[in-house]
Symmetry: C4
Subunit: 209 residues, 4 copies
Amino acid sequence: MGGSAEERETRASSTARLEAFSDGVMAIAITLLILEVRVPDVGPHEQLRSALAHEWPSFAAYALSFLTVGIMWANHHQMFRHIERTTFGFLMMNVVFLLPVAFVPFPTAVLAKYLGSDAERTTAVVLYGATFIGIAIMWNVVWSFAVNGRRLVGPEVTADAIRRGTRSYRLGPITYAVGTVVALFNPIAGFAIFVALAVYWLLPGSGPG
Amino acid sequence: MGGSAEERETRASSTARLEAFSDGVMAIAITLLILEVRVPDVGPHEQLRSALAHEWPSFAAYALSFLTVGIMWANHHQMFRHIERTTFGFLMMNVVFLLPVAFVPFPTAVLAKYLGSDAERTTAVVLYGATFIGIAIMWNVVWSFAVNGRRLVGPEVTADAIRRGTRSYRLGPITYAVGTVVALFNPIAGFAIFVALAVYWLLPGSGPG
Amino acid sequence: MGGSAEERETRASSTARLEAFSDGVMAIAITLLILEVRVPDVGPHEQLRSALAHEWPSFAAYALSFLTVGIMWANHHQMFRHIERTTFGFLMMNVVFLLPVAFVPFPTAVLAKYLGSDAERTTAVVLYGATFIGIAIMWNVVWSFAVNGRRLVGPEVTADAIRRGTRSYRLGPITYAVGTVVALFNPIAGFAIFVALAVYWLLPGSGPG
Amino acid sequence: MGGSAEERETRASSTARLEAFSDGVMAIAITLLILEVRVPDVGPHEQLRSALAHEWPSFAAYALSFLTVGIMWANHHQMFRHIERTTFGFLMMNVVFLLPVAFVPFPTAVLAKYLGSDAERTTAVVLYGATFIGIAIMWNVVWSFAVNGRRLVGPEVTADAIRRGTRSYRLGPITYAVGTVVALFNPIAGFAIFVALAVYWLLPGSGPG
């Protein structure tokens, strides 16, 4: 606005507001997850305690999505320590990246509802994996755009750091694709892979390096 | 507060908190959109997979509103690179601008529910378009107030940049009005115009310049 | 934490995080208001257009609460231009202030549902007014604590500015109490007073000075 | 990202974005609490006034959780005045801390629904207490990690301040465990302990020192 498209593209600005907006969307998406956990209605011959226990898929889905989106937030934080400028096009790309992130509460709720169903578990886990494949692909798109020709990175970022970043981000879509393909044959195993990925990234010193 | 109304009007302050609040409202509105996508209840003779496929209007409405509000956020960001001060009246004006933005989840949910209905598609698309006409008009009000007599813009903003901004913002209400009028006769075509506008603005180098 | 209670009280810190948290709560409360507007279910002999028109109390309640909370945000912004330090006790006081602010979506939803009901309109408008009386009282508590003995205000804030602030904040509980008492006899008139207050504060140069 | 795991661990960065993200999650969790308070449906022989009065457990649960999470936010604020650096592992730890915080709306809604039920009150209060035990434990984990070997604290933080912080944080899990154990025998008494803790911490000069 107030400038030609080309000007807007070249006139780079700081990433402060982009980071604040992304943090906002991720903080909200992560906190909305709890709305998916329903307060059980307890009939006359039931107990709240056992009704809560039967809701284990909701708790599992909540914890998995919370930690996974939290890991993404931490990685977004790390990535933007290397990126120091932004352009209108890059803002837009970040919006497209946030689209599947803000979508996460939906596949999480589907997983919570159908993880306990033999007939529909596969569909639920595959939808879940597909969402994270989408996010992981966008991650690579955002990073490539930023480092291509060193467009948006600071002068202190070494070529080596860029190469290592590129290599590690490439693992994201692959690992989620493996989990999703496994889920097509064995949804429990696919789900276990997603849990294992979250636990692995949470451990200090074992994140995508 | 702690000052007469006139004082409040003239004592301009920085735009940091206005931008943070606006980012917050836009980040929340964009993330609440997912609550409109319902987890399907699958009966004994149905499949989750086909139930999800039948929800395509929800997914389409989610994506369209997410991208459109995201584009607005990026444009708000660009606009406020030119605006460097604020007054109490301008804060209020920005609140009135945010009212239809925070309203977006409602017409989005109406669109998601009735896009597949032959009888009600027109109403749903027109309501959707009318909301964005409202936002686009407020955009012009906010910008006019800020640049009128160079009230709130920085000294580095050229008269030319202001003229170009004014011209480009004027296109907003017009394009949404065209889409809304088209929707009165052919709602699918109106909806397609809104999708086209979002895609056009997303492409690098093709935004309203 | 990591300090005695007295130390915590005296060791004042900047208001940045307090403002950010308050902005966050107000931005979320204002954006959650839209969840109260329900997507109508249209039966075979109804029209979406008329169903939407019948929802006018929801739209009216949404707009009124959005503008009123928005005005509060802008006033919070103005107030904290005078407050430059914070203490643990003041953080807590601000949390108590935010409690009725975050409560606003509830009386708004009650108002939306019962504004059209002759039997229950009074209760709905009185609950609404009572909520804002509570907020307006807390406003005075927060301001008194901050300016008492010039505890948390900056050296540039004149005694006169403090006096004028105190006087204007005192009007808040009174005007809302008047509206609420009027509502006990005539809820429509009480509601009209709340609308008039919002419009009056929105107009540039007419806010509580 | 863009660095080996070890590098990521050692390359500490400022806590600004961690604090902003945590504030966001806490602000959203605290504001979502209101969604648990349902607008009553009033039948032909009921009154809205008495229906609202019957919802007292919802209001009590809302107020208790709001104040308790608010106190946590203020304490997080105080804690991070001592912490000046962060690492990838510490970001992750903070995400794990936020998991039970963002979970609070669920036990709050369970409490609101079953506090009035003789049969299920115990389960509801115990679930509520267990959530806060979890939060209080994570509080100790986060603090220990930060001060262990003075890893992330600033040079101005005295050994004495660290010791006092450690001692006061240890009280958290103990007091919540006491309340939860009491609730097993007398849920009303357990609930009263949680209310008393919130009121005690709210009073100036009486917080955990």
